[in-house]
Symmetry: D2
Subunit: 342 residues, 4 copies
């Protein structure tokens, strides 16, 4: 068994990763840290784990050495304490945004301050298997992905790879997202009577995950816009694109199938019958799938990707990376297909 601990395990992404690890055949969860929840059973915070583990939260000061350390801390903490964590484990998977960007200028522009550990930054691989699988295999340091970045990247990947994005026209990704993206800190904005039924323009411009899309796909005229809707889990990216010239449906099929051939967690969804003809995030709650579909008229292409933001957008992809880091079967522990109806 590979020993693993989660630092900052009282949040939603940490909790989801814990759920997955507890049922994984090759991992043994040793500790879960939380300063605020220390001494409490983890199931008081993650009630779905009642009866599944007797683990209690511990303060990070009592962290023991393990094979792999998962960091699920607020932005900025991982990079500031990275030496401390590297002392405890030879392998690190960081779920935060601290080590996601290679370009340190872009990092500073996006996050408003210089990177706290630039020398460490180069050691981390961006944890999206669909673009970086070979570097992730056997890697020691891996950065998790941004949820909205992942939905955007997977929507755009087939078009970018097949040269179907006109450099003269913008790429506009309009994302619809759930409340779990905001984390577990209550506020008036997240208070149920206020948050319920919203169609809230959360980040019409300047969403931070845009930087991950620019960098992964090498695009510079790509724009993310995020609207929060009444849903807890799930994100749908609707990417509005233009091809250099009119494109036929069969060429798009070829591009999408080509981009995702052999990918265990990407399905191309574009049907003529049934209720679910395009990707639908609710079908993916708890699942690691990213469903990707498209539609086109003339040069205009709408590419659509649905994910569970806590799974393919965070903990699920993280575990997929951990499997790659350690040479396990990539899909291990990620078999839940999602529910219907839901």
């Amino acid at each position: 068994m590979t020993t693993v601990s989660i630092v900052g395990g009282s949040g939603y992404a940490g909790g989801e990763l814990l759920r997955l690890l507890l049922d994984h055949p090759h991992f043994e969860v040793v500790q879960v840290t939380s300063e605020r929840q220390a001494t409490r059973f983890v199931h008081t915070v993650h009630p779905n784990l009642r009866g599944r583990t007797k683990l209690k939260f511990v303060p990070s000061a009592s962290l023991e050495s393990v094979d792999l350390l998962c960091l699920a801390l607020p932005h900025g903490h991982a990079s500031k304490r990275i030496d401390e964590f590297a002392d405890k484990a030879g392998r690190i998977l960081d779920l935060s945004a601290d080590f996601r960007l290679d370009d340190l200028e872009r990092y500073e522009r996006t996050y408003g301050e210089p990177h706290a550990a630039p020398e460490w930054n180069t050691k981390f691989v961006y944890g999206l298997p669909e673009t970086n699988r070979s570097q992730l295999s056997g890697a020691s340091y891996v950065s998790g992905v941004g949820c909205n970045a992942t939905a955007s990247n997977l929507a755009l990947l087939p078009l970018a790879r097949a040269g179907l994005l006109d450099p003269e026209r913008p790429v506009l990704v309009d994302l619809k997202v759930g409340s779990s993206e905001g984390g577990n800190k209550p506020s008036l904005a997240s208070h149920h009577p206020e948050r319920s039924a919203v169609v809230r323009s959360y980040a019409p411009v300047k969403h931070r995950h845009q930087a991950e899309v620019e960098e992964q796909l090498g695009l510079d005229d790509v724009w993310l816009s995020v609207t929060s809707i009444d849903m807890v889990r799930g994100a749908l990216a609707t990417a509005h694109c233009w091809a250099p010239e009119e494109v036929e449906t069969k060429d798009l099929w070829k591009a999408y199938r080509g981009a995702f051939k052999g990918e265990p967690f990407v399905r191309v969804v574009k049907d003529r019958v049934g209720v679910y003809r395009y990707p639908e995030p609710k079908l993916l709650w708890g699942s690691n799938y990213a469903d990707v579909g498209f539609e086109a008229e003339g040069r205009r292409i709408v590419s659509i990707c649905a994910i569970d933001n806590l799974m393919k957008g965070a903990a699920g992809t993280a575990l997929q990376c951990m499997n790659l880091m350690l040479g396990f079967e990539e899909t291990l522990g990620l078999g839940f297909p999602g529910l219907h109806p839901i």
Copy 2:
């Protein structure tokens, strides 16, 4: 114009009352107080009032004399400061629970401390027009009603009046309620990812509004149980009752029609066709109606009442009482019928 101010107007019930008063032909809202929101436009807290009023919140220390004062303060504040408020206005409508119970022992048992102003308590009329209309007409001091108490009282009134409640059997009122009942203070329990989709046993036993039902209907074997569901406004009371002997549907119709004859805001809803055969709270959002229906088999009777907890359960009934206090037409300012579909 009758001048009116709202003390503690940043909460949900106060905001709803403000909405109603701003469109009322005979009331002029002079001030709305809030310590925390003082100097802000009321529409920053009650965003539906954007463009409808230029009022700003003021601290209660700057309260001026008016014809009628509406108190919408947290529990215990109205009774402790009642002399101060009575100096400002000859008429008071208090939305809190402070003056709802005549029986001071019941008050102490329910709220865990002796009443702060027992001499004032006797001056207040319980503000439910369906039971106390004559005392409310021209009254100077009126207490608002509990939302769940009102749904329960109106469900049970026809049976209690017609002698259709077997004293040997319990009356069990199972209420399904929305999140606005909890007020506007955020907490982890009201955080959208936690509060969404719940069927939360909020008060399986010992709900405080039970005291108002015992007192208004003179029952001593009546029990309220409250479950919170994923809805912002609305309450449905399902009252499980037993008649002394088997009862026919036509006798129930007679009891219900008799109890609510001439009531401008109670409709008896029991249909054989259509989608909405029983009372449905969503149809009442923003409306002052209480819809009441029933079903029976043998001696068992299920009586059902739907309300908007902020309207018939709070601000709407309060305005109905204010109309009665001042001799206005009882329905003035309460004409909104509710929406469909919704």
Copy 3:
């Protein structure tokens, strides 16, 4: 009193118009037709009107002459039977898409068949007061608006008028809409277990309302894309635009205030504090407001409009037009401000 009847009054838009007309001081509703529901009380289909009217549906064959006829029929019916209806009333308000487009080629391209009554089409004024008020005043024949077209048109109007749309870049309107837009015919796609919680790419390309935006604003590189979410009423248009050059916030404020100055039902919403900093459709349920806001970075502008699709997007604007047609105060019968919390 001006007499009015509604043809095809069992649908959602017809029902909403009926609700408004029943409370209007100058209109008297004479008949409401429905072939399928004939002889039933209107409140069996529109349950919010229980106790508000004793009207029953009648078949359209028994339609009597009135001052004004409102048509709320499925697409294609109004134009095919327009002579029949014009015999019954000197004024007609048609809620369907039959008479919305001046350009008959665009009509044929959009709706897939030639217009059934081109000679009548020229008599109809497009019923958006914010663009056509003067023609609507005293008009005899008025066409209602498309809900998604209206949200898009009002989002884009300030930019189009102020010359802030770069003709070299596309305008992309990404709409998030509720289930009432689909009407009241059940299907598996609208079945609650299937329709609940969706983020359904309903019309990624080729939404018919695009034609109304092209025509009203004179744009030819504008694209609508519609996603259905878990909401009954409401539409939010997120319009992604590019200005010819970098634009300052104060110039945008000037453009928006200029476009909507004096408009009784458009509010510019762009706040730095509070929970609702941009337009929010849930606050508009039942209200005739269109709330419009914006955000910008460099040349990129995101313009946002929220409406209740059944009100400002259909019945509300229709009544606003009827007030103009008959010389009544434009806001009569449209005073409901919307609710909060909701």
Copy 4:
């Protein structure tokens, strides 16, 4: 591998059972029948199974012999065609209500017609492991359970077993349920704009599952009442009970722990801290747990059970029984813990 086919597999319970069986280590799904969907891929109806199986629906006429047949047909079909099905398999698991009641008079009273196959009825074991485990082990014919019956039975089991139900007082079970209980046939009542946000008194009296509770627990003064709320999966039973005399919390703990000791899928949930202090159905979506909790004051006891109606209330318990029938580990294929947040 044990071969298994599902007859009537296009419905929600059949689809859920298919999801479970596809991931079960010892079952091989051979056929899934549906007359209406025959020749279509099962994932067009159960979209969560996209990429998980290449099975297509077949008509039941082409049913082949297998080790075990699961019947998921509408009420009445299984009993009328039982000989036909028994020819195809030595073991049958029937999800319908046809073989749930031992007492044929109760059956006729409940379902309005005599039983179609009384001689077969005696061969079927009621498939609730928590009451009938020993008979289920190795059984050939097992009947599935009613969802609302199961939530009620598990809420009441500890009290019934411990003699804590006063025979002089009624037991009233008030259930809150989701829309998936109604199956996958669309109607106006299930149309999203109508069904959304409801608190619909679906069966205030005379719910058919009451018969299963009477029979399993031997009670004759027990009453079910069902209210539909805005949720797809999940049922919460709130059982209002009276003890013969005042009861202490520790005695209730003893009764609940005693009743469910060693039960792999029942958890007693009653906490003093955290957001989820009582059973909560949303935490169980996709899981086979039944969570049971309680509260008491004096002689009054409120017992609460949450389940996923398609899992512990149907397909999950069915698979639990199939594991028992075949001597597999009882929990096999039922390991999913449920999600949080959700």
